[in-house]
């Protein structure tokens, strides 16, 4: 099943995207987490590949990266690992990591591998700015992969328009100034910005950074199309059962939310 077909099937439901760190503490656990995510009915997962110098991440994900690196997890080892799980048994995957790891493969190789493995919807690359991403976007687009763009609280309107013009996959709306895992307080400014964004794009607008509880997710889902839950879940990664039950709470909240309006 391609992510596109799945997107069409549940096109208006609110989306939950868990972030998990591949290889934390090893790929067997990652496999268990992917199966849990599939059972919970997530829209997609963001599969983090550990990088030694994660400048956009807070302490929780930094520590997870160190654990995963001690198991020698790499972009190519994760791609091969995904290839061992049938696509039907895992949710669509967005690979999430820093640009240097893609360069260690070359973009062409990554694209080829992603197609071979299947079930990879695209990538989220926090340090690849819109300005520097032209070639990557082109290579991704040519093979049906999405390079997910970020919009942050500091992104100006002219810039938002530029980013939306070439956007693909979903819009990653960064909820706060800072790094992943920082405590988020909801504000009317954020709500207004997300609502405005939803009017400007057909793509799902998903909010991430600092979403700690299903209650907070519920409030954010009132005005967005989805939530990305990272650090809070990463804290439970060593226990797939506990991780799964926490994730299901987020998914239940999403299912109970009114469907997205613009789709």
């Amino acid at each position: 099943m391609t992510p596109q077909t799945r997107k069409n099937q549940i096109t208006s439901a609110k989306k939950v995207i868990p972030y998990l760190m591949a290889g934390d503490p090893d790929l067997d656990v990652t496999k268990a987490l992917l199966l849990e995510a599939s059972k919970a009915g997530v829209w997609a997962v963001e599969l983090g590949i550990p990088f030694s110098d994660p400048t956009a991440d807070g302490p929780v994900i930094q520590k997870a990266a160190i654990r995963a690196l001690s198991d020698r997890t790499s972009l190519s080892s994760v791609l091969s690992f995904l290839g061992t799980i049938p696509c039907s048994e895992r949710p669509p995957v967005f690979i999430m990591t820093y640009f240097n790891l893609f360069l260690s493969l070359t973009i062409e190789e990554f694209v080829r591998e992603a197609k071979r493995v299947g079930g990879i919807a695209g990538a989220v690359i926090p340090d690849l700015s819109f300005e520097d991403s032209k070639e990557v976007r082109k290579a991704f687009k040519a093979s049906g992969l999405a390079l997910v763009p970020f919009i942050s609280p500091t992104t100006s309107l002219p810039r938002i328009k530029k980013i939306l013009a070439t956007a693909d996959g979903f819009i990653y709306f960064v909820s706060l100034l800072g790094t992943t895992g920082k405590a988020l307080t909801l504000s009317s400014t954020m709500e207004e910005r997300v609502r405005d964004l939803c009017l400007r794009t057909k793509l799902p607008v998903c909010v991430g950074f600092g979403i700690q509880t299903p209650e907070m997710a519920q409030k954010i889902l009132e005005f967005s199309d989805g939530v990305i839950v990272g650090s809070r879940l990463v804290q439970e990664e060593n226990d797939p059962v506990k991780w799964g039950s926490l994730l299901r709470q987020f998914c239940e909240v999403a299912r109970a939310s009114a469907p997205s309006r613009h789709q």
């Binding site: 990088f51 240097n100 700015s129």
Partner: protein, 407 residues
Amino acid sequence: MKNRKQVSESARLPDHSGYFGEFGGRFVSETLMEALYELEESFKKAWSDRSFQKEYQNVLTEFVGRPSPLTFAEGLTRHAGGARIYLKREDLNHTGAHKINNAVGQALLAKRMGKMRLIAETGAGQHGVATATVAAKYGFDCEIFMGSEDARRQSLNVFRMNLLGAKVIEVDGGTKTLKDAISEALRDWAQSVLTTHCVMGTAFGPHPFPLMVRSFQSIIGREARQQIMKKEGRLPDALVACVGGGSNSLGLFHHFIGDESVRMYGIEAGGRSLSPGDHAARFQGGRVGVLQGSKTFVLQNPDGQILRTHSVSAGLDYSAVGPELAYYFETGRVHFDMVGDEEALQAFDTLSRLEGIIPALESSHAIAYGIRLAREMGQGKTLIINLSGRGDKDVLEVARLRGGVLS
């Protein structure tokens, strides 16, 4: 002719996207992008604004103590037995190194931009001290990020920063050195970007930092050029500078880039050996990658994970190198070589005893190579070594390495 054209074109780099050839760019999170544009615009406006230039020059004269002398190193020249060696005396600047040139410039810029707080990363501590100094002078709040291993090696500088009213935040992540301090500074900036200016200390990171730092440091070469013309009546045959990120080397090189007859040597830290993790010679053991905002040569393993580095000098102990230098490596304009810990420590002694100047361990790498080069070049030639900083900060560490304990 073609060569000349290439050279003069390279003096105009980076291009409008912040690239020097294929190197540079702005590889940071979306949150920082608008701040980078704001900074670029403010910098370009200030740099071409006469009143800003006047204020900057005035602070360099009255506060930093510029121009720094170009000293003929008689003892060192005799010792090497070849080319005449001149030392560009950045060690005589206020706070003891070239770092203050850039810190002053960025502080004046931050003031113009209405920022209230300065943050900075530091390796050897010289940039941290320089930033803490200008923060004290202009009334900014100031926090300095420093790897805990570097803070141990450079405890004297930590104390100086505290005296100047800055808060030093020791970074325990990763390798506990400069690279991790930069990551932490970038993380802080993503959170504080509306009120804070991040004072990058070297010609590295996302555009416009490489351009801005080079510009604020280019005073070194501008003075050196006038001084050597006055003393020797002609351009030098060679320039030598140590290379961490690239601020002191580009500072010296910039005004000579168009002079084909002037050979340029950038000296990296050879550390203990050329095994991965034992050195910081990016052009010897690195390949093109992206780290902390910039596409450049990076020491990394086959998976793309950044390697540890080692050098006796904290200021050269870094896994990547400024993008402009990567470009000069590719084009061959700058020749890169390396000097290991042992040879640098010998040069530390040699300069102390022959010239009465205790050099920073970073600069000792350039001194060591300069001695070799002067010998090779032979008599009748001249060369300038950038003495980027003084060694007061290093005496405790050198004593410790030699088994003596000072307290």
